[in-house]
């Protein structure tokens, strides 16, 4: 029942939100719904074992409304459920035209995301995969920046082409199953010849690679992150990119084990090129949002490489890091939003000396920055350590090259902290004040999570343990 609730609460709540005319009511209702979702998600975590829900949907097609929440799904739904209230509270002061529609679409996208993480039926998965995109498309195109229409459209077309290719792949696998079923289990039990695997693998992988994004499919991402309203960027980068990683772990690796083993080096090399390339570009950025966007590509690249290293350490690292990256990047976006809302600029050249004006925000950002470079005692350290370890076990040279991105991450992250918060104040930051208490409160929550998981990551590893062993067993 809980998996169903996780989708239904935001879905119905979102639909109702369209009809709330009062701005305050719309915001309050959205927050209430997101908290209810969070409660449902926590209740799901409290129950041990895999939660599932199954209802007839399209019996003639062999597809059912099957949801299942194992460790990984629970972890990701928790991330989704945590992110939305945090986003709503931290950006509470932001004003949007047509507020009710904005929050309604936000909740609908949450419902879509929950569906992606919970589906245990491939057709249903495809449904949600696309549906999560539609509200975000409208959100970015209506409330985004100057170039929003073109940029969001590029984003949409990219992901849509990917998903259509995946649909071709899904159909192919569907007709291979003996009982013509879309169920996850039937797909896992398929025996696909190596030749077929090597082809169909790409139909799926391109869809997921675009979503993650992995080099060279990443070009939509920095523009989309920059042009979206920051609250939506938070959804995109904290939760939505996890769809790609999740899908690789859930669908790609177990269904195409031979193709995975066949193409692992190729994918890993692409991922590592992406890491270094994105890091180098991040160093050159003058825009706070673009810097975080490129930094995000680099981190995702490492997760992708670690998955394709196909060992236990790597998968464990990826599991923890999916959650941690979501938390960290969410924090960074909240800071970026606080700065932009107050000063109206994101350019480093127009920022400086903010630490004098907003010491609280500065301290919080420094901790977030440390987490971004994966310093020990922060949550990201554990995940990245495991993942580098996995890459190292797979191939030393890859680990060497991937390792340079750690240094590059330190360069651009610390550079950012320095330029924005330290040095002398410039005219635009002369009258800056401390960020709002809502924003700081949410940042404090995130920082606590960062430190707690950095010191004691075991609960997260235990939570996702069952998925890791299933994936490795299916191989």
């Amino acid at each position: 029942m809980i998996p169903l609730l996780l989708i239904l609460i935001p879905l119905l709540g979102g639909l109702i939100n369209f009809f709330l005319k009062e701005e305050k009511t719309a915001k309050g209702w959205a927050l209430l719904i997101s908290l209810a979702t969070l409660a449902a998600s926590l209740a799901g975590i409290a129950q041990s074992g895999t939660l599932s829900f199954d209802a007839a949907w399209l019996p003639t097609l062999g597809s059912s409304f099957a949801l299942s929440a194992d460790g990984m799904a629970k972890m990701l739904t928790l991330l989704t459920a945590v992110s939305f209230p945090v986003i709503f509270i931290a950006t509470n002061k932001n004003n949007y035209k047509n507020t009710s529609a904005f929050y309604a679409l936000m909740l609908l996208s949450q419902a879509g995301l929950m569906g992606v993480f919970l589906s245990a039926d491939c057709l249903l998965f495809y449904f949600f995969w696309e549906l999560a995109l539609i509200p975000v498309y409208f959100l970015c195109s209506i409330w985004g920046g100057e170039r929003r229409i073109a940029v969001t459209f590029k984003f949409f077309i990219y992901t849509f082409i990917g998903s259509l290719l995946m649909l071709g792949g899904i159909l192919y696998l569907y007709f291979l199953t003996p009982d013509h079923s879309f169920a996850l289990k039937s797909f896992y039990h398929l025996h696909i010849s190596a030749k077929e695997q090597n082809f169909v693998f790409w139909l799926f992988f391109i869809a997921f690679a675009i979503k993650m994004p992995v080099f060279p499919f990443h070009t939509w991402q920095p523009d989309a992150y920059e042009q979206s309203p920051t609250a939506v960027t938070m959804v995109l980068s904290a939760v939505m990119v996890k769809m790609g990683i999740y899908a690789v772990v859930r669908w790609l690796i177990p269904i195409f084990p031979e193709a995975t083993a066949h193409f692992d080096n190729l994918v890993m090399v692409l991922a590592i090129i992406g890491m270094i390339y994105a890091s180098l570009i991040a160093i050159r950025q003058d825009d706070l949002k673009r810097l975080i966007a490129y930094s995000s590509i680099a981190h995702i690249g490492l997760m992708c490489a670690a998955i394709f290293a196909q060992n236990k350490v790597g998968l464990e690292g990826v599991m923890i890091q999916m959650f941690n990256h979501g938390v960290n990047v969410l924090g960074l976006w909240i800071v970026a939003d606080a700065i932009e809302q107050q000063l109206g600029t994101r350019k480093f050249s127009e920022l400086g000396g903010l630490a004098q004006k907003a010491p609280g925000l500065a301290i919080l950002l420094v901790i977030l920055a440390f987490a971004n470079i994966a310093l020990p005692l922060t949550n990201a350290f554990v995940g990245e350590f495991l993942m580098f370890n996995a890459v190292f076990q797979h191939n030393i040279w890859m680990a060497v090259f991937a390792g340079t991105s750690i240094i590059l991450a330190a360069v651009y992250t610390l550079n950012m902290v320095q330029k924005v918060f330290y040095g002398n104040t410039v005219p635009s930051t002369e009258h800056a004040i401390e960020a709002g208490s809502n924003t700081r409160a949410m940042l404090i929550v995130l920082v606590i999570v960062i430190i707690v998981l950095g010191v004691y990551p075991k609960p997260m590893i235990d939570l996702t343990n069952d998925t890791v062993s299933t994936i490795l067993a299916a191989r």
Partner: protein, 463 residues
């Protein structure tokens, strides 16, 4: 049989209505009642109840598929009349006569869904086409409408000529008009008719490709669709086109084997050419009406898959496709008739001024683009699934090409959504009534329902 007789009678009745009354709403009401009657008698037929028994000498053969298709088409026409009835009566100088012509078209459709003889195919196509030539020119003081009508008539008669030529060749060599008669002969060592039979069939197929506006026989489509009064474009692009496909499928069912392997090579080429021309040209259009004309070519490309594979799944697919595509297209054209400026820019800012119109239009466009949760998704899904089911890995390339073109189609469908929602503007629009809005919302809900539970519609098909 019921449907053929009743639709012809309704047509005549509509003509007489025009004599007795000039009250437009009375005329519309008569048309709606006649359509309801048409649906009922057709359903009665599928339960084995006949209004009149006629010995068709196996020139017609009634099957569930054809009958269900009739119901679908009549229901779509009903929706069309409910939504755009006012525009039909206002399209030109006359009122009731247009409805009469529409009923004659439906009569042609009901013949095409059940013909068993090439003669009936010819008669069906003519009954279908001639009223359409008139409807295209309904706005007789408009030069463009006249041009479209003349063009359609000339091109149409030319293709009919080719059709007759093909039928003559096939009859001459096989000695029968029946499409059924050939089938057993094939299984028991077919007599070899030489080259003439395939050539004759090829001519027939070319004529049908013309009717469904598949490339390279599509050239009339944009001009005719653009020139015709928008209501009749809507009717032509949906109901008539779907009927073309059903006649195609019937013929292919029976005769494709005799064409041999060559069809498996020719059809994919036609499909890809149709998808290519329809989609790519639609991208460059400035007028939404013209864009819809090209998009209808592109959608025809997808529907041709049902001819290419021809199995159970593709039959279900063409039914779903007809429903999904007709509902969405009827809706979009209905909104289009209300717009003063039918370029993309004319839609700027529609969401703010008329949220209901914009929202339903968005649903229709999303459905045409094939986004999940709309009927259009399952329509495309069934087509692609049918291809993969029939040909396995060998046809995967065709599926990939098709989905890439589906992605292209998103480009032009979403331009309308972008204009409505993301751009500022003052759209000029004629008054819309509450009933019109309600009808639009009903169509949108129908699309989402079929998109969520396609089996609900298909279960009807299997009773």
């Amino acid at each position: 049989m019921n449907a053929i007789i009743f639709s012809a009678l309704s047509g005549v009745a509509m003509m007489f209505t025009g004599i007795f009354t000039t009250n437009k709403s009375a005329i519309r009401n008569v048309a709606v009642i006649a359509l309801l009657g048409l649906i009922i008698v057709n359903l009665l037929h599928s339960y084995g109840i006949f209004v009149v028994r006629v010995n068709t000498h196996s020139m017609l053969q009634f099957e569930t598929f054809g009958l269900f298709f009739n119901t679908l088409v009549f229901a779509a026409t009903l929706l069309f009349v409910l939504l755009s009835g006012k525009d039909v009566t206002n399209a030109g100088t006359y009122g009731a006569e247009y409805f009469a012509l529409i009923f004659f078209v439906l009569c042609g459709v009901s013949i095409l869904t059940c013909y068993n003889s090439l003669l009936m195919l010819f008669i069906g196509i003519e009954i279908l086409s001639i009223p359409l030539y008139i409807l295209t020119g309904a706005d007789k003081r408009n030069l463009k409408s006249n041009e479209a009508s003349l063009k359609y008539f000339l091109m149409g008669s030319f293709s009919t000529g080719i059709l007759l030529m093909g039928i003559t060749l096939v009859y001459g060599i096989t000695g029968t008009f029946s499409i059924e008669a050939m089938r057993p002969a094939v299984s028991v060592g077919a007599p070899n008719y030489g080259i003439l039979e395939p050539v004759g069939l090829l001519f027939i197929f070319i004529a049908l490709l013309f009717k469904v506006s598949a490339a390279p026989f599509h050239f009339w489509t944009p001009d005719v669709y653009d020139g015709a009064p928008t209501v009749f474009t809507s009717f032509m692009a949906t109901i008539v086109k779907a009927a073309g496909f059903v006649s195609f499928i019937r013929l292919f069912d029976a005769r494709a084997i005799e064409m041999g392997i060559s069809w498996k090579i020719i059809l994919p080429v036609i499909i890809i050419a149709t998808l290519l021309i329809g989609n790519i040209t639609a991208v460059f259009q400035q007028s939404v009406k013209r864009m819809m004309a090209y998009s209808s070519i592109a959608q025809a490309g997808f529907m041709l898959f049902a001819v290419y594979v021809n199995n159970d799944m593709s039959k279900e697919g063409i039914l779903l496709y007809t429903a999904a595509y007709s509902i969405a297209t009827i809706g979009i054209f209905a909104i289009l008739t209300r717009m003063k400026d039918i370029t993309f820019d004319g839609f700027n800012g529609l969401a703010k001024k008329h949220p209901v119109l914009a929202a339903t239009n968005a649903v229709f466009l999303l459905s045409l683009a094939g986004i999940p949760l709309t009927a259009g998704f399952f329509a495309k899904y069934y087509m692609l699934a049918a291809v993969v089911k029939e040909n396995g890995a060998g046809a995967l390339w065709l599926v990939i090409v098709a989905v890439l073109f589906a992605a292209v189609s998103v480009y032009y469908y979403f331009r309308v959504i972008q204009a409505m929602y993301f751009k500022e503007g003052e759209p000029e629009i004629t008054e819309v009534s509450g009933g019109f809005k309600t009808a639009l919302v009903m169509l949108a809900v129908l699309i989402v329902l079929i998109g969520t539970f396609p089996s609900a519609l298909l279960n009807w098909f299997y009773f």
